[in-house]
């Protein structure tokens, strides 16, 4: 490679290195703020504040869903298998909402540690398969 | 072996109740895709009309 081209190549490498370095530092500084939600463990162990809106993400605990018969009120529990947070929500639930599903609930914790949610979003996993295959897999487990 | 997921046209269009979402997603992709190609063809035709280049060849 001719010398002036080699110089340009080094310039490019310096730019790429500099940008990568500053981006990594920025991401490192942002740290936890880049996360969309806290797990129940994070919220409970770090004593999440009661006056701020926050998001809790976890699985809907099996058997925990209790729907109010004459309103859209629903109670359920989010778990990460070590800690649990009860959630109360009034509104329409996403189609994927069900027991065992990953859910992100947004709201404020009350003094009793219940998340009064104003938004409930469903997370789906990265697996795609036909219904019959999944039934077979679940049955074999 | 090769059976379709839908028994008739209506159920195909309905997409299990998600028809409006599925078809609007496909619709916008088709719209943008076709429009982009057409735009390039218009650009070529304009250049031909302006006669900046002779008959479509650089030679």
């Amino acid at each position: 490679m001719k010398p002036h081209r080699k110089k340009r190549l080094y310039m490019i490498l310096v730019i790429l290195l500099g940008v990568t370095l500053s981006a990594s530092l920025a991401i490192y500084a942002l740290g936890q703020n880049m996360n969309l939600y806290f797990t129940p463990s994070q919220a409970i162990v770090n004593k999440a504040p009661t006056d701020k809106t926050l998001r809790i993400g976890g699985l809907v605990k099996e058997g925990s869903v209790k729907r109010d018969s004459n309103s859209l009120k629903v109670n359920f529990t989010l778990t990460d298998h070590s800690y649990e947070i009860p959630v109360q929500y009034t509104g329409i639930l996403p189609a994927l909402f069900r027991e065992g599903q990953g859910i992100v609930a947004q709201g404020k914790l009350n003094v009793a540690g219940v998340l009064i949610a104003d938004q409930v979003l469903a997370k789906h996993d990265e697996k795609y398969m036909p219904p019959n295959i999944s039934a077979v897999r679940e049955g074999s487990e | 072996m090769m059976t379709t997921s839908f028994s008739n046209l209506q159920s195909f269009l309905a997409m299990g109740g998600y028809g409006s979402y599925v078809w609007s997603a496909y619709g916008i992709v088709v719209l943008v895709g076709v429009w982009q190609v057409l735009r390039q063809m218009v650009r070529v035709n304009k250049m031909k009309k302006l006669n900046v280049w002779n008959g479509g060849k650089v030679k």
């Binding site: 938004q119 795609y128 | 299990g16």
Partner: protein
Amino acid sequence: MWKRLHQFASPKFFYHFSGHLIPWLWGAFAIFLIYGLISGLLFAPPDYQQGDAYRIIYVHVPAASLSLMVFSVMGTMSIIYLIWRIKLADVVATASASIGAWFTFLALVTGAIWGKPMWGTWWIWDARLTSELILLFLYLGVIALRNAMKTPDTAARAVSVLTLVGLVDLPIIHYSVDWWNTLHQKATILKLAKPDIAPSMLYPLLAMMVAFFLYYCALMLMRVRIELLEREKRADWVKNILYPSTNGIGASKD
């Protein structure tokens, strides 16, 4: 070798070469598209969780992966241009920018249309969606910077450097779902492990990804040809073709 490469990169040769290539690209595109659409929309089974709504994957994932791929092509072209000053590389980058921007736009829009019924929201500021939105702004920035510069050479240099800087967003988008918790799910196909998708659903998706890639190649070459002709009106490379001794780069024996 170098001579051959420079000949290939000469505007005149590339103009004719791409003219022959484009019809084949469109033909292959049509085959993959038709197979992908029919098998994806008609024959692929519904998803165990998402029912038929998951079929948006066949446009969303190709658009999203092309939005990343086109930018990486632009990055490669920028490096080639900055080091060797091969103008064709800059023309390819120019032609790619708005196509990439549209792929990004489509990825975001189809993602929103998918998100509403499945997640329960059109939009959320999680790391994946936000970094993809930043990619759209990078594309728009590249296009705007190109239009703002008067002389093509300074524009090419400035745009190349901005593209290099923007490259850092690509790994962030890809790994965002692993580095942070997001509403968007993790990678299904582009990972080291086996794809987590049934073959009957995977093959249409791969076909659609190939179709989108061929579409990009064909449309990009169409734009490159027009761009070459437009630049010819005012730039020096026509003179270089006619009088090959003046400048080593961009010249061909004719």
